[in-house]
Point group: C2
Chain length 274, copies 2
């Protein structure tokens, strides 16, 4: 792994500054070491996006000492001694503006952003605990789910915003490809990309991945950032994943896909792609 080796003279076609097209991007980054590949890619993305005229904020969860564990302290206005029903407690705290300040700040950043990038290493096929704790706590009742939230899978609180999942992983590409033993990366990311980001209404792009992350040499890092640069240039123009919106036409009241709606031969997670 090398440090950020981008040459500031280089610029990809899509990243030419265009004040008219300036947008706001939130990068949520999760690695314990500020010299990690994750941190380098976060810095690289911020530089690229700023040079393209965008405004960038970074939620560096480790640097923020983000509280990962959702517990009773998240709902300080809750009557002491009540059994903790997470959905009810978070819906009530959201409605009364009594979620903790760290959670409210992240919800504001999500609303502020036109695009959100999640940058993390894939640990056990999923996000690190600190980022899972960001999802568990920030995507609260009322904001993200429950009867008082906007309808999921299409019209959620974050509708109109874009999402890009950017992961590094120690495994080689073939082991996370269609026939790979760890499972295809898009399927591993389905709960995050579809079940959380699209659930809140975001337009989710194909994930960006850097494989063999433990053994990346300078040439490998340059190749990775070149690939990332192209994806960042398309952040607001790429076609999002064609997830199926939750409508009566598509899904039953029990939230199962109606018979015959799927593309021929698709099963499992694939049913929910148009």
């Amino acid at each position: 792994m090398t440090e950020n080796s981008t040459t500031s003279g280089e610029r990809a076609p899509g990243s030419v500054p265009d004040p008219a097209g300036a947008r706001r991007v939130l990068i949520v980054s999760a690695h314990p070491d500020p010299r990690s590949l994750t941190a380098s890619l976060t810095g690289f993305a911020a530089d690229e996006l700023r040079r393209a005229g965008h405004e960038v904020r970074i939620s560096d969860l480790y640097a923020m000492k983000w509280k990962a564990v959702l517990d009773a302290d998240d709902f300080p206005s809750r009557p002491a001694g009540d059994r903790l029903d997470v959905m009810a407690a978070s819906e009530h705290a959201y409605a009364t503006g009594t979620l903790t300040a760290d959670v409210r700040a992240e919800q504001e950043r999500l609303r502020w952003a036109d695009a959100v990038i999640l940058q993390f290493p894939l640990w056990w096929g999923a996000v690190p605990a600190i980022l899972k704790g960001w999802l568990d706590r920030v995507l609260s009742g009322g904001f993200a789910y429950g009867e008082n939230a906007k309808p999921p899978y299409g019209e959620g609180e974050l509708a109109g915003r874009r999402a890009l999942v950017s992961v590094t992983h120690g495994a080689g590409s073939p082991s996370l490809a269609a026939r790979g033993i760890h499972g295809p990366l898009p399927e591993l990311l389905f709960p995050l990309q579809h079940g959380a980001l699209f659930f809140l209404g975001m337009s989710v792009l194909e994930p960006f991945a850097v494989p063999d992350a433990a053994d990346l040499d300078p040439a490998g890092y340059r190749a990775a950032t070149a690939g990332y640069r192209a994806r960042l240039a398309g952040l607001f123009t790429e076609q999002p994943l064609p997830y199926r919106r939750l409508t009566d036409e598509e899904y039953t009241r029990e939230l199962a896909l109606r018979p015959g709606r799927e593309r021929p031969g698709s099963t499992g997670f694939g049913l929910h792609l148009r």
Copy 2:
């Protein structure tokens, strides 16, 4: 949701005490409230298994104030100032016996156990952050993965042990069934069941799930525990999921399934089931 309402006079056929068949079971439980459905099911399982003559230990992660976030403090013997390479640092700490005491204790409990039950609410299609942090930290380099660990997917450190994932979720069953919008539960659990538990060599059973967990009335709780009782009775006799072992015959050196090995029509995660 009701509290544990098991009647001690009831006993399912499979749970008759049999000292000759006494085994050791570790339950890892993750919910912030000791009066939660999760906690009730953990208590129910412990009672059932003890009445059947088994020895039970419980890792109640919230009660233990489990440290969820993997960081530099996990490797106290690491040279200060070194960049944190998680794999290298955890492999070294494992090899030198310098992992933190909490992590070493959980690794010992896993080795002690003949079966492990993970009991948790499904949050955003996955384990709560505190349980993700248990996986991230306890399944360290050397113990779980890396060149010095036992070979994955078949012969790992926990080979010969059984694993049962027991989840509660607020969604209704159809939304997590084959055509459900949240994705089929077995696919959501694949990274955990296959990518972590089977990765370490465990024999993984079909998951046990309690749907509609937010609205469970006493009758619903009785039905849930009746179903759970049957599964617990089969903990050591049920046929495990037929995950494919990592052998040269089945997989390439790049860990992709060889052409033609799959059952006809299977794709994605399904390729890795015999």
